[in-house]
Amino acid sequence: MTPPLSRRDFLRTSGALVVSFSSAGALAPFVFPSTSLSAGGQGQFGTRVSHVDPRQLDSWIAVNADGTVTGYTGKCELGQGMLTAQTQLVAEELSVPVERVHIVQCDTDVTPDQGTTSGSQSTPTNFNEANLALAAATAREALLNLASTRLGVPVNRLSADNGAISISGDAAKRVTYGELIGGRKFALTLSRTARRKPAAQWTVLGKPVPRVDMAALATGRFEFVHNVRVPGMLHGQVVRPPSVGATVGGVDDTSVRGLPGVVEVVVRKNFVGVVTEKPWQALQAARALKVQWAAGSKLPAQRDLYDWMRRQPSRDGLVVDSGDVDRTLNGARTVLKATYLHPYQMHASMGTSCAVADVRGDHATVWSPTQSAYPTRSGVALLTGLPLDNVRVVFTRGSGCYGINGADTVSFDAALLSQAVGKPVRIQLTRKDEMAWENYGLAYVIDQRIGLDANGAIIAWDYDAWLPSLGGRPGYDAPGNVITGSLVGFEPAGVSPRATTPPSGTLRNGSNAAPSYVAGCIGTSCAGAGTVKSERVRTHTIRSPFFTGPLRSPSRLQNTFAHECFLDEAAASVKADPIEYRLRHLRDERLMEVIRAAGKAANWEARPSPQSRNTRSGVARGRGVSAVAYEGDNGYVAMVAEIAVDQATGRITVTRLVVAQDCGPISNPDGMKNQIEGGALQGLSRALGEEVTWDDQQVTSIDWRTYHSLTLGFGVPVIESVLINRTDVEATGAGETAITIVAPAIGNAIFDATGVRLRQVPFTAERLRAALG
């Protein structure tokens, strides 16, 4: 592949902004009046220019007449705790209690366009020195300036507390924010010189503030998108093709005409849906509707997938290439060679995706759980033919998504159905429609070679990977990247085969394709975390038979599985302790520190793997370690896993996971622990059982019996988190760190326990039993 432009690089490309704002309602941020401004240009988040100008303070922060504060953000709550963390940020900078801050998330009428809430980018984007953080600091500075004028003393004699500013040492001389500016606009641009509170002074940020939504969730009061009810709302279902690539030959709408509640059968090219008065009726009608389908092309046989991938025409990429890898390997004392395999996996959200759309006349409103409010707005405009400015997308929380689940596609479904009937329509997908057609996380084939010198040190690392791709996030102009857009005729992004070109610039290890242990040199610039100078990282992207897209730790998880297990193979071949051997080949201090910290917390016993006590019967115990610098520099994490293997059955029981993590300054330590624990167990589920399956026509993992997620009753390991809080560096993401290193930690522990190396995920009992022989 061309390594996909890393999400970070994408964010860094900034273009001209169009200045355009006017004052709207009292509490709404700066909004351009509804006219045409959809033309060209690019905002600061790799986004299109939006009508909410991100350079204006009023686009981010409003002080209301009652002194409460509203924050507007383009980074939304997906279950990861971002709502609470952003509430803390605004509360901290403005010195107001958490309960007096309200955050409006991802509503294209009023919030700045911050692109997609993804890629562990919300914290780096909004919690360092720009955007929401800078807005909050600017607002604090502005409030102090206003108070200085009002109270007639210089700013350095003022202090802010509890939503008011007083003269230091004279608390009676006091003015509240409401009195200073409540209900009015700041009319200021973000101040680049506004200073955030130093972390040492934090009283709200950095603390384990309870989640602001927790009580409503636990008592069933919380409004998910699934609960949105609009007057006059109808209910829809879609009829997806019976096999991949099938096309509509004809639709017999008389087949449902007599059924209760049927309002409309909607057909647009290969998109078929029904609209009824009640939701249960929609399911009945969708089942009963007779559609003639022309079969699509056959799918590659699942058992042959990995060989098939190697045979496809590919788009090739070189991430690093020192030019001497073959030569160094030829001169090495020992060469290790192994192939690692990772299956397609899915987001498989707990709740199937749901959206409500109200498309009437030339206006549309869509209540959507999308991670990408503005891009979805653009997609809805393309699908409905409405002017962009007439479409509003209101982010409304859905089930946890972990990447692009069905949220975008169902938003398109709702818009198409609503437009067809001219009334609001709600649709929640069936479990099968969700699972059979979502954008899966990538399968991977990874060949690696390591060369060792006479001292057992790694002197060369060669990596060669094949990965499938089709579609992805729709972005602003590619609704065909998800099933609904593709069914109505928009093409999904495919793969145009291309030979590789040499790498240039500086390595940005955004997909973690380069192992942590290589130097990562391009020319004279070496940005890798490790020391191995002879290095080559090649990728071959092929066209996928299924839609693909980002699934929590996309590519980073698959790559790290291969790297971290293979590193262990090298350590074992020279009888080195896996932690000591890692440290020997690293130079990134933060990565090294989390490895040491995890080892220390786990009481790691320094010795080579496999452990020597094992006989091939009974229960064998072992431990494994793994680590990653996520995306090269967006979070540092290490894990020690302790497991027991029943060698008669191949069943793996994970007893303990110790995770050490450094993500810079921590906004909410309890929130971070929650992400570590959830990431660790989701990673465990993906390592032990999750795999998309199919026959020659269609996906067959379509429910919870055929797609295997660990239940609440599976025998949960102890999880211990070691948080390294650094306040002298920038904040990084923390949502995709732990999950990235679970499979290799387990794989290495299996090897330690049994001497058997599993190189294919998932580590099912059958697979391990077969390997144990």
């Binding site: 990861q80 989640r211 927790m214 009580a215 069933g220 009640k278 479990r431 624990e677 019996r705 009753g713």
Partner: protein
């Protein structure tokens, strides 16, 4: 269409629906309740769990025809934000959620089990949760909250 009477969270309701309609559709659509949720429609994940009489049932696969006169409790029937049920309070105290979509499954299943058998052992609790899913994998915190509640209940 047929008329059915239900008592839901202490309130009597009469609804006129197709008898094959699963209870979940009546609760979330006709009665606009937010606790029970559609997760799979197949009785496999737990999101739709409610308590009928004493038993936790999967409302997405339980047709109205079997429920006339039933007494139904949903997640919001257990407690309120101001006065949560002790298990809901344990979940709040342990911060045991991420997206929160699965909570009806976890909480209602456990409440029903411990109401029927206040002395249920940890393996029995685990067994009852072996068909309940949480895809954010908040398992550790949820089990901690459940243990805390179970201990209170036994005491």
């Amino acid at each position: 269409m047929s008329a059915f009477t239900l008592t839901v969270n202490g309130e009597r309701h009469t609804v006129d629906v197709d008898p094959t309609t699963p209870l979940l559709y009546v609760l979330s659509d006709d009665l606009a309740l937010r606790g029970p949720k559609f997760g799979c429609g197949l009785g496999q994940c737990g999101s739709c769990t409610v308590i009928v009489g004493q038993r936790a049932i999967r409302s997405c696969v339980t047709p109205m025809s079997t429920l006339n006169g039933a007494d139904v409790t949903t997640l919001e029937g257990l407690g309120t934000v101001e006065r949560p049920h002790p298990l809901q309070k344990a979940f709040i105290d342990e911060q045991a959620a991420q997206c929160g979509f699965c909570l009806s499954g976890v909480i209602m299943t456990t409440v029903a089990l411990l109401n029927q058998n206040p002395r249920a052992t940890t393996p029995q609790i685990q067994e009852s949760l072996s068909t309940v899913l949480c895809r954010c994998f908040v398992h550790t915190r949820m089990l901690r909250a459940i243990t805390r509640y179970a201990e209170e209940k036994r005491a």
